[in-house]
Symmetry: C2
Subunit: 342 residues, 2 copies
C-alpha cells in the first residue's frame, strides 16, 4: 500500500486522500502553512499520520531561515499553527512536543528537525508492526473482525493500527473476514479501508454504519478492533464518531472491543474522556454526500468528528509495547511510566 | 406536505421519492405491474404508504377485465406480484388481505377495490392524526426528540407516524427541536424527513447515523420516536436498519423509545422478531453514495434494510387506538382482540 507521506528534496509529498480511491493526486508542500492546510482539509488524516505530517511541517519551517535564531522563531510559529489544525488527535501534540525538544538541543535546526521527522516515521512503522502482532495474537482462528473508519497505512504512515492488526491476523491465517463500516460522513471505510484491504488481499465486506447492530444480532461479529485519536489516563478512548455506539452494541452481544494505538496516542495529561476536546466539523459534510447536496438548502446539521468510548467498554489497548489490560487506568500509568523511564 | 399517492381517472399517481428533495417527479401507474415496480424500486416507500399503493394496485388490476371472474383472476395475480415486492412491511400484507376479503364479497370488483383503497387511505390519515395526539401527549414541554428514517406523510400517505407525533408535539408547543438521522444508505432522513419538516415548520437538525451516541452522551436527546415496518406478537419491532443501535444507546442513557405505528403494522401471526423476514437490498446502495461509486470496484457489501429492536427496549407502542404499554405481548394481544371483536 502506498505510504501517504514522502519527503524529497525540500518537499513533503502528501497523497491527497480526499480523491481516493478514484484518483491518486499528490500535494507538494514546501511550507508549513501548506501542511497545516492539508491536515485541516483532511487531505492527510489519521492521528499518527497527522503527527508525522506536522513533524515534517516543522522541518520545512526550519529551512525557511538561514540563521538558527530566525529558524527557531519560524518553527515556533509553525508549531502554533499546526497545533490549531485539529484538536482531538494526541499524536499531533506528541509530534510537536518532540519537535520543540529537538529544537532546544539542536545547533542546526533544519537538519535536526528533518532527522526527527524521519525517525518518527521509521518508529511509527516499527511500532505499527509490533502492535499488529500483539493484536493478532489475541485472535482465535476463523474470527470475523469488525472495524470502523480507516486505520491502515494511509492513517499512520506505517503498517496501520487496527487495520494492521487485521492484516497481521490474515497473514497468520486467523481471519475469516473483516467487516468494514463505510464511516459517514467522509466514507473513510468505503473509500480508504476498502482500497487498502483490496491491495493487501485481506478479505472484507462493507456495511453501512447503521448495520452494525443487525450483524451483531446475527452473531457474525467475533471481535471489534478500532484505532484511537486520543486515550485519556482513565482509558477512555476518543475515536471516529460511531465508535461508541459500536462498543455499546459489542458489550450487549459479548463481543470484545480491542483498541489498537501506538503509545503516542496515550495522553496521560488528560484525566478522562470528558476533558478530550471533540472537533465539530462543517455541517456540509452531513448535508452533502459524495460532493452533492442531499438535504434541502438551509438544513442545519451537527457533525461531531469523534466520540468517546468509556474505558469500561474497552477490552484491551494494543500498543507496540504490548497489550494493556483492564483496569486500564493502571496499565496505562505503568506503560507511560516505562516510556518515561526509558 | 404533498401526499405521495393520488388516484385520478384510472391512474395512480406516485410521487417518485427517489428524486426528492431536488425534483418532484410523478409516476403514472395504470397497471399493477407498474405499482409493484414503484414499490420495489422505493419510488414509494414507508410501510403504510406501501400498503396503500398495493391497495390501489389491486383496484387497477380489477379494471383490466370486464367480466368479474376474469377481474378476480387478474386481482389474484396482482396480489401475488405485489406481495413479493418487499418482504418486511406488515401493512403490505394487511392491505392485500383486506383486498382479497373485499373481492370475495364484491359483485363489481373494480368499483369495490377502488372504494376499499380510498377507504384505507382515509383511515390511514385518521389513524395517523389520532396516533400523533396520543404520542404527543406522552411528552413534556421542551423535549428534544430523535427520529430515524422517514415516517411523515411521504411514508404513510397521511399525517405520518413518528414524524406525525413530532409535528403534533411541535403544534402543542412541547417540542424544543427534533434530531433527524440522515439514514444511510438511501438518506430518507436527509432527503425526505428534512424536506417534510421544513415544509411543516418543525425545528430540526440533521446528524450522521453514527453521531447518535455522541448526542446521547451530551444529554441532548430526551426521547426517541421511531416508526415500524412490522411488530411481532412479542412486541419486537422491525424497522429501518439502525433503529436497534439507537434503542440500545437509549437504554444505556435512560432515554425512552416510543414506537409509533398504526394497528395495521401489528402482526400477531409472527410470534417474535426472529421470525420477521429481513429484506437484504442491493450492495450497490452501500458501495455507492448519492448515485456515485464510493468504494473501489469489486467491493462486496451487505445491506440489510431493517433490524429488529427487542420488545424489552421499547417503552411504548403508540397506535391510533391508544398507547400500548409493557408488557407489550399482553397489550398487543388486547389491542388485536379489540380490533377483531369490532
Amino acid at each position: 500500500v502506498i505510504p501517504p507521506l514522502r519527503y524529497e528534496d525540500g518537499v513533503l509529498l502528501i497523497l491527497d486522500q480526499r480523491f481516493l480511491p478514484g484518483e491518486e493526486r499528490w500535494l507538494r508542500c514546501r511550507r508549513p502553512e501548506e501542511v497545516a492546510e492539508a491536515i485541516r482539509t483532511l487531505a492527510v488524516r489519521g492521528a499518527p499520520a497527522i503527527g508525522l505530517a506536522a513533524a515534517y511541517g516543522l522541518a520545512l519551517a526550519a529551512t525557511e531561515a538561514h540563521e538558527p535564531q530566525a529558524a527557531r522563531r519560524r518553527v515556533d510559529a509553525a508549531a502554533e499553527l499546526l497545533a490549531r489544525t485539529r484538536p482531538t488527535a494526541a499524536n499531533l501534540r506528541f509530534a510537536l512536543e518532540r519537535g520543540r525538544e529537538e529544537l532546544e538541543r539542536a545547533t542546526a535546526p533544519a537538519a535536526a528537525l528533518l532527522e526527527l521527522a524521519r525517525r518518527l516515521h521509521r518508529e511509527q512503522l516499527e511500532a505499527d508492526r509490533r502492535l499488529a502482532v500483539h493484536g493478532a495474537e489475541r485472535m482465535r482462528p476463523g474470527e470475523r473482525v469488525l472495524t470502523h473508519c480507516n486505520t491502515g497505512p494511509l492513517a499512520t504512515g506505517g503498517y496501520g493500527t487496527a487495520a494492521g492488526v487485521i492484516r497481521a491476523a490474515h497473514e497468520r491465517g486467523l481471519l475469516e473476514s473483516a467487516w468494514v463500516t463505510e464511516t459517514r460522513p467522509l466514507l473513510q471505510g468505503s473509500r480508504l479501508t476498502a482500497w487498502e484491504m483490496r491491495r493487501a488481499g485481506v478479505p472484507f465486506r462493507l456495511l453501512g454504519d447503521s448495520a452494525v447492530g443487525a450483524l451483531m444480532q446475527r452473531g457474525v461479529v467475533d471481535r471489534v478492533v478500532v484505532g484511537a485519536d486520543r486515550i485519556a489516563a482513565s482509558g477512555d478512548v476518543a475515536n471516529k464518531v460511531g465508535t461508541y455506539p459500536i462498543a455499546v452494541l459489542a458489550e450487549r452481544h459479548g463481543v470484545p472491543v480491542d483498541v489498537a494505538a501506538p503509545l503516542s496516542t496515550l495522553d496521560p495529561e488528560t484525566p478522562a474522556g470528558e476533558a478530550i476536546p471533540i472537533e465539530e466539523r462543517s455541517p456540509d459534510e452531513v448535508t452533502h454526500v459524495g460532493g452533492r447536496r442531499a438535504a434541502p438548502p438551509g438544513t442545519e446539521a451537527v457533525n461531531p468528528a469523534f466520540d468517546v468510548t468509556p474505558a469500561e467498554l474497552v477490552s484491551a489497548i494494543v500498543t507496540e509495547a504490548g497489550v494493556l489490560e483492564p483496569p486500564l487506568s493502571e496499565s496505562i500509568a505503568r506503560a507511560v511510566g516505562a516510556v518515561r523511564a526509558a
